[in-house]
Symmetry: none
Subunit: 367 residues, 2 copies
């Protein structure tokens, strides 16, 4: 994704803007951000205070910003900020929202109503959730993230191979097992009390940003709070724009960002998707003599053969075509990746053509 970078000239980069969420978003240019992460107020509807079995009071979320008169008011607020978010998002951009069962269904339905295209719902499984003290429900041990593209036809970014690498080389699933933000990671005020009631763990934002953005992308967090998004953006060398109404949070978050050291060139690299690798036409291997015209290729089980022609096509009897087309034709398949289908012999071993491509790309990269 060339992304929104060219459009971001009017965007105040790497800052947390103090102000109301919607009002501040209205001052920013359309299509100027590549990705949005939003952790909106939860509308928790807590009735009175909650006590642990030992009668200590649970420090729940009871700040003013979490009080909404009713569902309709919450929906109105949600539609308003999500509409602005959609305007700010680049056409190929994606948005993440996080919530619990109190608000996630409102968020999801309104996302769909506004034309966002849901790509995944992702479950953050907490390794250390708060137990259900009254024993009247299941332990609420997860929160839900929704990942959505701006529209159905967005050509969004997903760093598939990086996610696979992060998960021991099997596809990353939609359920993520991560600890809560505790201990030293948790920001505290001068009295040692937690600064923000819902500070998100860095590991969560690390995975979110690694999955759906690339270096120098612009990430917007309209409910910046303790600044986890901003801090992880800086660490991973993405640009950020935060919005936060409470000056204390703005200050604490910017101080936090300043303490963050961006990863260096070696550490920031991730496994590349093949789709992004430099293109190398099969014909150039023949031109360069890497593979001599006249070489006979076969499938892995050596049931099918074809001969390499001087123009990089394959020939078998009266049939001729690209490595892909011939693979598909000779196996009656609708399509075929010739790079992995066709094999050549080297020192008695059958190797896929892809090996030659990798070698050739590696050789030219180091020049």
């Amino acid at each position: 994704m060339s992304g929104a970078k060219a459009l971001s000239m009017d965007l105040p980069l790497d800052q947390i803007l103090r102000g109301e969420c919607v009002e501040t978003m209205r001052t920013l240019p359309s299509g100027s951000v590549d990705c949005i992460f939003a952790d909106p107020p939860y509308n928790l509807q807590l009735r009175g205070e909650l006590r642990r079995p030992d009668d200590s009071v649970v420090d729940g979320v009871d700040d003013d910003w979490d009080k909404f008169s009713d569902l309709q008011e919450y929906d109105r607020f949600t539609r308003e900020w999500l509409s602005e978010a959609r305007r700010l998002l680049h056409k190929d951009g994606t948005i993440w929202v996080i919530g619990s069962y109190h608000n996630i269904f409102r968020l999801g339905a309104i996302l769909q109503d506004l034309g966002f295209w849901i790509l995944n719902d992702v479950v953050w499984r907490k390794s250390n959730p708060m137990p259900n003290f009254r024993g009247r429900r299941f332990t609420n041990a997860h929160e839900t993230l929704i990942w959505a593209a701006r529209s159905q036809d967005s050509r969004y970014r997903f760093n598939y191979q990086a996610m696979k690498a992060l998960n021991d080389d099997v596809q990353m699933r939609s359920d993520w097992y991560l600890p809560l933000c505790t201990g030293n990671e948790r920001l505290r005020n001068e009295h040692g009390l937690k600064l923000h009631p819902t500070q998100k763990p860095e590991s969560l934002l690390h995975r979110v940003l690694l999955a759906s953005t690339t270096v120098n992308d612009v990430v917007l967090d309209p409910f910046s709070g303790s600044g986890t998004t901003a801090a992880m953006a800086r660490r991973l060398r993405r640009h950020f724009v935060g919005i936060e109404r409470h000056p204390d949070y703005v200050e604490a978050a910017m101080a936090r960002v300043a303490r963050e050291v961006p990863l260096d060139d070696d550490a920031i690299q991730t496994t590349q998707d093949k789709r992004e690798a430099p293109k190398l036409p099969f014909g150039s291997l023949v031109e360069q003599g890497t593979l001599v015209a006249g070489t006979v290729l076969s499938d892995k089980k050596q049931r099918i053969q074809a001969t390499v022609a001087a123009d990089g096509t394959l020939v078998s009897g009266a049939k001729r075509g690209s490595i892909h087309k011939m693979g598909a034709m000779l196996t009656n398949a609708p399509s075929c990746n010739g790079w992995t289908f066709w094999h050549f012999e080297r020192e008695g071993v059958l190797l896929p053509l892809d090996v030659l491509r990798q070698e050739s790309l590696a050789a030219t990269a180091s020049q």
Copy 2:
């Protein structure tokens, strides 16, 4: 809960009624069921044919009953059957609905709009989900259930101790790890093909009914399908009322129920679910900051070095791969256990990565 039993005289018990969902519900008496389990159409909106990398075709859900012209029509349908469901539910009763990201946000929002009171959202984590074949999203590895009481002041049933016992004497969490319905459990037609495209596993209904109903309770399933709810109700000695519009499904489900043997008085119904072996991908250590990206690892004799990248791969020159692959590559070995091969330095001492893994697993204890 004294429950709805006294009211159920006009209710046709332990049958699957052939008919349209809403129409049939209208014939049943108000407040007559203790619990509802509903697996409505998901509105998947599948477009073309999907093929696996081996070119085989995925047998998707293309049935007419899952097609809706737009979200508005889906919402209308949902409001209609949920309204009837609420009328049939006893004042202290609860409802379960299951869905995927395609429809669960519509379901949840409408439940709230109608006055249901959400108790939990529960995540069914699939042990064996279908992969994402195109590598364009996270593996869709879960479905979501919403558990809600008829109203905020319902004195609903929750068998807390039974759930705790089922979970090795720790509170049952909101994330459940259960396999898909496959193998012998899957109902098949005379050609050996699956009878119903979306048959739910018995383990799921077993847990649902065990959590939220008691012996002789009445359970309604307005989208009965293959009859998993009815079968598990009979096994657990609950009464059931099913509604299903396709006569073939009604017949197959009633035959299935007839094969079911109710548990006897002594049977303690704890089909213990497989405890999940604690797994920890190397990438998690990087995300969680246990090991910082940019750290240089080495073998025990410090002859070989590599740098940790942000996606949990190791980098050395032009080479990149998992801790295992890189260990093997750099030593020319066929394979390598990266956890014991690679070492990091702590207080001047070289320690294997495995130490970090053990520490991290111990800290988070029970997955």
